[in-house]
């Protein structure tokens, strides 16, 4: 029997990882230093792995025979449920780090909670991914500090990068009607409850990085219902090109 609520939730989780993994893979071969190139690729690989598991679960929940590839390569913008933060362009290295910093610290808390999900598959995926993500936030936090408290130029770029990403952070803690029943049944995590700890972590790292918390402003939201930024369409048209151009092929 189709479980549309679970389908939607698994898509949200999987799409976050998929879209950010896709973004990180754009860095491959172009990072500031070889060692950094390898680190970014490792984070990207972890995310693509998570996406594969979550989207497989989504396909099973939906029960229409769509597998993880069908979901990744044959949905359009309106059906992607990732947060807007994940799809933001890489920009310079500071912007990439700002995105990773906000996202991984959130995802770390999220997966820590999802290890206790009443859905056994989600709990198993989260248990594996939680370890990966602890490392991602550690990397991102350290780079925030190096760049924030590095040179005048890096500090300036970090302020810009953070400023670009900050408006998308509220969306991470948003709970809509679709999520409520899943929270009630213990499948989904009530992300609202993660906010205080996330705020404390972000504040601690920013302080060490000699960076100010960006000004509060109206949140930009919509990703969870398929209303994205302009960037996602371009990302998808690149990512999905082969599957779309040769729809009946196996690769």
């Amino acid at each position: 029997m189709a479980d549309t609520a679970l389908f939607d939730y698994a898509c949200r989780l999987g799409d976050d990882s998929l879209i950010l993994g896709q973004r990180l893979s754009e860095w491959c071969g172009h990072a500031p230093m070889l060692e950094v190139d390898l680190s970014l690729a490792n984070v990207g690989l972890d995310l693509i792995g998570q996406a594969t598991h979550f989207l497989k679960l989504a396909g099973e929940a939906e029960g229409k025979g769509r597998d993880e590839d069908k979901l990744a390569f044959h949905r359009d913008v309106l059906d992607f449920k990732n947060c807007l933060l994940a799809e933001q362009p890489n920009g310079d290295f500071a912007q990439t780090i700002a995105r990773q910093f906000l996202f991984s610290n959130w995802q770390e808390l999220l997966f820590r909670e999802l290890c206790k999900s009443s859905n056994a598959t989600i709990a198993a995926i989260a248990a594996k991914a939680a370890k990966e993500v602890i490392y991602h936030s550690r990397l991102a936090n350290e780079w925030m500090v190096r760049l924030g408290d590095g040179t005048a130029e890096s500090h300036g770029r970090m302020v810009e990068g953070l400023d670009w990403m900050w408006r998308f952070s509220d969306e991470l803690f948003e709970v809509d009607a679709a999520l409520e029943p899943l929270i009630a049944s213990g499948v989904a995590c009530d992300v609202r409850k993660l906010r205080p700890e996330w705020d404390a972590r972000i504040g601690r790292v920013l302080k060490e990085a000699t960076l100010e918390l960006p000004q509060a402003r109206r949140a930009t939201v919509g990703g969870r219902v398929g209303h994205h930024s302009e960037h996602l369409g371009h990302l998808l048209s690149e990512m999905q090109f082969l599957q779309r151009a040769y729809p009946d092929s196996r690769w």
Partner: protein, 331 residues
């Protein structure tokens, strides 16, 4: 190959400027002849050091520039599995570049100096990466042919006379083992797929075959330093020996999936127990060595851009480390 003589054929061979102490030289030659390893702090002739720095850095540059043609398809890989595999593979190439730069650094040349030589055009890298990746099949062809050729060359280098280089190659070979297989798997899927996919696969083989067999470098009679490199165990088999070996194992692999090697003169020679093959267009090879490969400019532009765009990041990390150290010292 990644490491063959990549000099313009009109370039004069370098004249050894240093006159070595004959006794030390003889002792060195004897050690190498006995298959002993030379380690970083050991005495070595200047020409050996120079040849090694050139060869290892060329090899490292090839790995790094080699990330670009395949990197071109990571964001467009046709399935999640293919995407993860390709990202992991291109990342491996980066790792190999890293090991090799580190091996060359033990000879007293910094990574930055080597990168500078690459960006200024003084250092060469494998000609193969100056060809474009037009379709997804090119990713299959590179894994199958280019990595296949690389493995041919790298396996014997695990016993090369310079310790750090040999150890780097051991690690590289261990990691490379999946690269060629994943490439062949892609080709298999395409060759057994739709007409459009078959066309893609055959076209990729047509474009990559000749550049791949050129990777082994000029024929032995035009490879003046081969004898010395073999004596020094920097090279363990000649260009032509390796090329023949590669062709002999690759032809049946193409046949098995119904692809045709684009060489009308290719024929099994029973007497030799090997394939005879057609004439290689060496003018094409030397043109690419000179920097006239179809996407040579794009490749260098991408490398230089990544390095220059990253300068502020490297500087910031250095500045932060200095501040951090100063603060700790003050406490």
């Amino acid at each position: 190959m990644y490491t063959t003589e990549l000099k313009d054929k009109n370039q004069k061979p370098q004249v050894a400027a240093v006159v070595e102490d004959p006794e030390r030289l003889a002792a060195f030659e004897a050690r190498v002849a006995a298959d002993d390893f030379i380690e970083p702090k050991d005495w070595m002739p200047e020409a050996y050091r120079k040849t090694l720095v050139r060869q290892i850095s060329q090899h490292a540059h090839s790995e790094i520039v080699g990330m670009l043609p395949e990197g071109n398809w990571i964001t467009r890989a046709p399935s999640l599995r293919r995407k993860a595999v390709l990202l992991a593979k291109v990342q491996d190439e980066g790792g190999h570049g890293l090991y090799l730069y580190a091996a060359a650094e033990t000879l007293g040349t910094s990574r930055e100096e080597m990168i500078e030589a690459l960006h200024s055009g003084r250092a060469k890298y494998s000609t193969i990466f100056n060809y474009p990746t037009l379709t997804w099949a090119d990713i299959g062809a590179i894994g199958w042919l280019v990595d296949g050729a690389a493995i041919m060359n790298q396996v014997p280098l695990q016993r090369t006379s310079y310790g750090p280089y040999a150890r780097a190659m051991v690690r590289v070979c261990k990691e490379e083992s999946f690269h060629q297989r994943q490439g062949y798997e892609i080709m298999m899927a395409l060759a057994g797929g739709t007409d459009a996919q078959k066309r893609m696969a055959q076209d990729a083989l047509n474009r990559w075959w000749w550049p791949s067999i050129m990777m082994f470098g000029p024929p032995d009679e035009n490879s003046p330093n081969t004898a010395q490199s073999i004596r020094w165990r920097i090279k363990r088999e000649t260009n032509d020996e390796l090329r023949q070996k590669f062709i002999d194992v690759t032809v049946p692999q193409a046949e098995a999936i119904g692809l045709t090697i684009p060489d009308a003169d290719l024929k099994w020679n029973d007497a030799r127990g090997s394939y005879d093959y057609g004439a290689i267009d060496w003018e094409e090879f030397y043109a690419v060595v000179r920097g006239e490969g179809p996407v040579a400019k794009e490749r260098m532009q991408a490398r230089v851009k990544a390095w220059e765009d990253g300068a502020w990041v490297r500087d910031a990390a250095t500045a932060h480390a200095a501040k951090h150290e100063a603060r700790e010292a003050a406490e």
